[in-house]
């Protein structure tokens, strides 16, 4: 078994128009910038994107939105140091927003990956974000029913991988990446290093390869914060 793919372009080449795509990362940490830029080059449109944020500056997710490829965004916090791209698209009615509390977003993704269609959480009970959702009482407390989130593709970033797709992460760049890997039909991981089978200690595997379909090496990945300080624009 060898899940490695030669290039980021090849890794995203079959993503069709209208796909639902989870994109890992929290702000810039753990954001698979090279895969996102490959998706921009590939040009798939009318995407639904699931990410914690809505991009920053004019690279990565912000650039994907700026190219008009995203019809709908599901996220918890569509603000950033430089949120101009999403803000303008949203206020112009060019992009739909589904705002989800951050922990609910994470759990919906985890549930999608675990085959659990719905669950109850105290989060958002009695607020505007619970309007229209079923409510139930358990042990005297009220909970809101939330549904799983699944995707056609997940674009994630990891540190090391082997040919089976076993993954490790780097510090807080882990964030949404492991749960998105579980929740997509096709998970594509960009990794800093592809290592021989057996060189990742099984005790250290964070995402087992069963959740990963494609691995592509990006040896020195770009970091959103650094690109933004340089006022980079993609493409």
């Amino acid at each position: 078994m060898d899940k490695s793919i030669a290039s980021v372009a090849e890794a995203v080449a079959d993503i069709p128009d209208g796909a639902t795509v989870m994109i890992g990362g929290f702000g810039g940490s753990g954001s698979p910038i090279e895969l996102i830029h490959a998706l921009i080059d590939h040009g798939a449109k009318h995407l639904t994107v699931i990410n914690n944020n809505a991009g920053n500056g004019h690279v990565g997710l912000a650039a994907l939105i700026e190219q008009g490829q995203v019809d709908k965004l599901i996220c918890s916090f569509p603000r950033s140091a430089d949120p101009v791209v999403f803000t303008e698209a949203y206020l112009a009615g060019k992009i739909e927003l589904e705002l989800v509390p951050q922990g609910t977003l994470a759990e919906r993704i985890r549930a999608g990956g675990a085959g659990i269609p719905a669950f109850f959480t105290p989060t958002s009970f009695g607020t505007d974000l619970a309007i229209g959702k079923p409510v139930a009482e358990f042990e005297g407390r009220s909970y809101v029913q939330e549904r799983w989130l699944k995707a056609d593709y997940a674009l994630i970033k990891a540190q090391q991988a082997d040919a089976h797709g076993n993954l490790t992460y780097r510090m807080a760049a882990r964030n949404f990446n492991p749960i998105m890997a579980m929740a997509a039909t096709t998970t594509i991981a960009q990794v800093s290093e592809l290592v021989p089978l057996g060189s990742i200690d099984p005790e250290h595997v964070i995402t087992p390869g069963i959740f990963v379909n494609r691995v592509v090496t990006v040896a020195n990945p770009q970091q959103e914060e650094i690109l933004n300080r340089a006022e980079a624009v993609y493409p």
Partner: protein, 227 residues
């Protein structure tokens, strides 16, 4: 009439007061912005373990400028450092810590707090781009949910109210409010005054509070150092 603006506590002093209530070894989440200041004012000999939603327990101060690693950030997307004993985890585990009741204290900012513990801190209801982040999760699950806030808005309107008029973050979730004038607990649907700064009278404090302040014993002086 007392000039409240002249005698009220600074944000640093409110944060200092909140820090005095955090036990050694407590697991604590500090909201983005003003609540982050609490970490600076832990009493000598006490060390809380700070949680950040994006997957780190036991982080420390910001690194020196130029030493940032952008894979190591907090929920406010600021660079952080690690303390010995730190750990990393993914987002679903991070919010299991929150929702599962494993945090001892969550400290948040507020637009408004109601006497029953309702909190409004995520939306001014005015349109624009809505953003909620982790606030609605953090108010459920921590054993204590404390709010740091100026006692009144910049226009002088009360922020402690009978009912919130802004969109809610959570229902009946706040347990204690540290303001620029007082420390107020929320018990049985009432604001219970615990401490007030010495040079304001009870009546003056009540006049800038939007719901009845009750007492169930002596009210202590709220005394904080110059910071």
């Amino acid at each position: 009439m007392t000039d409240i603006e002249a005698i009220k506590l600074s944000n640093a002093q409110i944060a200092w007061r909140a820090a005095q209530d955090i036990e050694d070894g407590a697991y604590v989440n500090l909201g983005i912005g003003f609540p982050e200041m609490v970490a600076k004012y832990q009493p000598q000999g006490r060390q809380a373990i700070f949680h950040t939603e994006n997957g780190v327990l036991d982080f420390g101060e910001s690194p020196a400028k130029g030493r940032e690693d952008w894979d190591l950030i907090n929920a406010g997307k600021k660079a952080i450092t690690l303390r010995p004993g730190a750990s990393f985890f993914h987002h679903a585990d991070s919010f299991a810590m929150v929702r599962g009741g494993h945090l001892d204290v969550a400290i948040l900012g507020a637009y408004q707090v109601a006497q029953n513990g309702d909190l409004a801190n995520w939306s001014t209801g005015k349109g624009g781009v809505p953003a909620v982040g982790g606030a609605m999760d953090l108010v459920h699950g921590a054993k204590r949910v404390a709010v740091l806030t100026d006692h009144c808005t910049k226009k002088g309107e009360p922020k402690l109210l009978a009912e919130c008029s802004l969109p809610l973050t959570g229902v009946g979730c706040v347990t204690r409010v540290y303001t620029s004038l007082a420390v107020v607990d929320i018990e049985g649907g009432n604001f219970v005054l615990r401490e007030k700064i010495p040079n304001i009278s009870f009546d003056e404090l009540q006049a800038v509070t939007g719901a009845v302040l009750t007492t169930d014993g002596p009210v202590a002086d709220l005394i904080v150092p110059e910071l």
